[in-house]
């Protein structure tokens, strides 16, 4: 009777017939080297290994412990596996005698990992509890995610001069050295809020309020990214946390609470305000805006947008980004000037807002001309059946170039 496992000759033939492919090996090496080289990037604003606040420092300290341990264990396991694969590979030799039960080995292989996991567990749990601490909160900001932008509203907090709620989007502005508690939720699907330099991720879930604490050591801008797949433009759902000194934060708060100032009559901006009232106000609110008869202008995003909200554009030009922080409101040179400012100069540069000279008119005009062409969104009016005719994102408004000129002039007045 033929031994079914005795097919050594066939295997040897197979091994001989498999040619080595040096090109494939080279490609693998290049890809692996490229992956390693990404660790050398200097312009990496979302680098998790460059913490800029105590919460991110805690996470970094934990990874300094866990990664080497995991790395050493990984290397040992891979080396042993490779050694065993090579040393005992099938050369047609007889199957060695099968032994079962080596108490010393089995106890060692149980106790050593248990000890390692216990050490890792102690530090991990301590960090988790530290990060979950909310009793020492100094400031609260409500964060609401929706496809594909973040809204921030600041409840009344007189300690920070916030006497009436502030609402903004794209950039979260916070004071330095302050324990800020984000109360996260979502209006449509699950999103996840992540500013790597300041803390870990936290999901924003419809109907739930999840808490995430942020604190920044120094003034500056810290980039982030939605990290829960949330639809077509998930990759374009970005955010930035802007940390200002307490004095500069007070100035920002005071500016956000300034009443609306309509553009002077007869100007291009005044004509732009009319375009805004005819088109944009269906979804976008500008607090304090009034119609000619003196009635307050109330946007109706709940009637037009699936999530029920669109970014409030009050004081738009005090922000540096638009369209869910996908685009910069500042031209590259001006943006670089703000991003690379020294901490002591950062506040003044950020609070200067967006001037006409620094405006990134190219992207803003492209957005106003045809928003879905520059950011993928569910905004085709012929395909809105599943959402009862409501948009997810901003539709193309069909504005003329003249209207866009007027609108840009008007938006520049929103400071």
């Amino acid at each position: 009777m033929t031994n079914p496992t005795d097919n050594t000759a066939g295997k040897k033939q197979d091994m001989k017939s498999t040619p080595r492919n040096p090109r494939r090996a080279l490609a693998g090496m290049v890809a692996g080297s490229g992956l390693l080289l990404t660790g050398c990037a200097t312009n990496a604003p979302q680098d998790i290994f460059q913490p800029k606040g105590p919460n991110a420092h805690d996470i970094n300290q934990l990874q300094k412990l866990v990664f080497p341990i995991a790395g050493i264990v990984g290397v040992i396991v891979l080396a042993l596996a490779t050694y065993i694969f090579l040393k005992f590979r099938d050369r047609g030799q007889a199957i060695p005698s099968q032994a079962h039960g080596r108490p010393i080995v089995e106890i060692t292989l149980t106790v050593v990992p248990a000890l390692i996991l216990s050490v890792v567990g102690v530090f991990t749990f301590r960090t988790i509890f530290d990060l979950a601490e909310t009793q020492d909160t100094e400031m609260v900001i409500n964060v609401t995610g929706q496809q594909w932008w973040w809204e921030y509203d600041y409840p009344v907090q007189e300690d920070f001069g916030i006497n009436q709620p502030i609402i903004t989007s794209g950039q979260l502005v916070m004071p330095v050295g302050t324990k800020v508690l984000l109360r996260e939720t979502s209006r449509d699907v699950i999103h996840s809020y992540w500013i790597p330099a300041l803390n870990g991720k936290k999901d924003a879930v419809p109907g739930r309020i999840n808490l995430l604490r942020l604190e920044a050591d120094k003034p500056g801008i810290y980039a982030g990214q939605c990290t829960e797949f949330c639809g077509l433009s998930h990759a374009n759902m970005r955010m930035e946390a802007v940390a200002l000194s307490k004095e500069d934060f007070a100035k920002w708060v005071a500016n956000q609470q300034k009443p609306y100032a309509a553009p002077a009559a007869g100007t291009l901006a005044a004509e732009g305000e009319q375009v805004f009232l005819n088109q944009c106000v269906r979804c976008h609110q500008v607090n304090g805006q009034k119609r000619a008869d003196g009635t307050a202008v109330i946007a109706a995003p709940d009637e037009n947008v699936y999530s029920g909200a669109a970014p409030n554009l009050s004081h738009l030009m005090t922000r540096n980004t638009f369209a869910g922080a996908m685009f910069d409101l500042l031209r590259p040179a001006c943006r670089k000037d703000v991003w690379s400012a020294k901490p002591e100069e950062f506040g003044a540069k950020y609070l200067a807002g967006v001037s006409e000279d620094c405006l990134n008119a190219t992207d803003l005009r492209a957005w106003l001309r045809n928003a879905p062409a520059v950011k993928p969104m569910y905004a085709d009016p012929t395909k809105l059946g599943p959402t009862d005719g409501k948009y997810r994102g901003m539709p193309a408004l069909g504005l003329s170039e003249t209207d866009i000129d007027k609108l840009v002039a008007y938006l520049l007045t929103l400071k």
Binding site: N142, T144, P155, Q164, L181, T185, N287, D302, G308
Partner: protein, 227 residues
């Protein structure tokens, strides 16, 4: 909203079990009440009908969809009408309890604590709110526009109270009569709690008198700000 999220998923299996029980019960009544020979004939007829319908459903797709489509269309229509009339959703009688049949002995304990934006307390005849992250009691809360928000009401007073949220006014379409829009919890006794879910579509500036929460019979109002 609470019904949709918490009870909704249980409704279909519960209703299916009841329907199945009803069918089994009815079958047993019929079988026990007809003679052996008549019963055989009756069930041959019923089985033939079932087989015929199943055959049609299997081989004529156009037939298969019709009953289901009809049921779904009816359901969609009902859902549409229930959504279209916000007055019926938001308006409740929030004054003194006039009904003698409300659940006076309800547990009044709420388990949705992770989802609560604000907790409104009434204690020693005074109403106040507490917010996650803010240590001292507040007399204003901020609610994001067009978002479901849960507000917990906890009665620490000796008397029974309910929490009422005032959401402005609305003209009734048929009559033009302007009525107050308000929503409220059930009455809660001492140390009991109730949850109210609200979704406010318009910012505070759209309202002449704004939005507010109060506890009838207790001092203090809590301003609700929708930025």
């Amino acid at each position: 909203m609470v019904r949709t999220r918490s009870v909704g998923p249980l409704e279909y299996p519960a209703a299916s079990a009841v329907a199945l029980g009803a069918v089994a019960y009815l079958f047993s009544r019929v079988m026990l009440n007809v003679s052996k020979s008549a019963g055989a004939a009756l069930f041959i007829v019923i089985a033939s009908v079932v087989v015929s319908v199943a055959f049609l459903a299997a081989y004529r797709p156009s037939f298969r969809g019709r009953p289901l489509v009809a049921v779904l269309a009816l359901r969609a229509q009902l859902a549409k009408y229930s959504k279209e009339d916000p007055y019926s959703i938001t308006h409740r009688e929030c004054g003194p309890e006039e009904s003698e049949h409300y659940d006076h002995h309800a547990g009044n304990a709420v388990n949705l604590r992770a989802n609560v934006l604000a907790t409104v307390f009434v204690k020693d005849g005074k109403a106040y709110a507490e917010l996650i992250g803010i240590k001292k009691p507040v007399n204003s809360i901020t609610i994001a526009r067009s978002n479901d928000v849960n507000i917990l009401f906890r009665n620490l007073d000796e008397k029974e109270h309910r929490m009422v949220i005032h959401l402005g006014e609305k003209a009734v379409a048929e009559t033009g009569v302007v009525e107050k829009l308000e929503n409220c919890t059930q009455l809660a006794g001492k140390n009991q709690e109730q949850l109210l879910t609200v979704n406010i579509k318009k910012p505070t500036i759209a309202m002449k008198d704004g939005y507010k929460i109060e506890v009838p019979g207790a001092e203090g109002e809590i301003e609700v700000i929708v930025p």
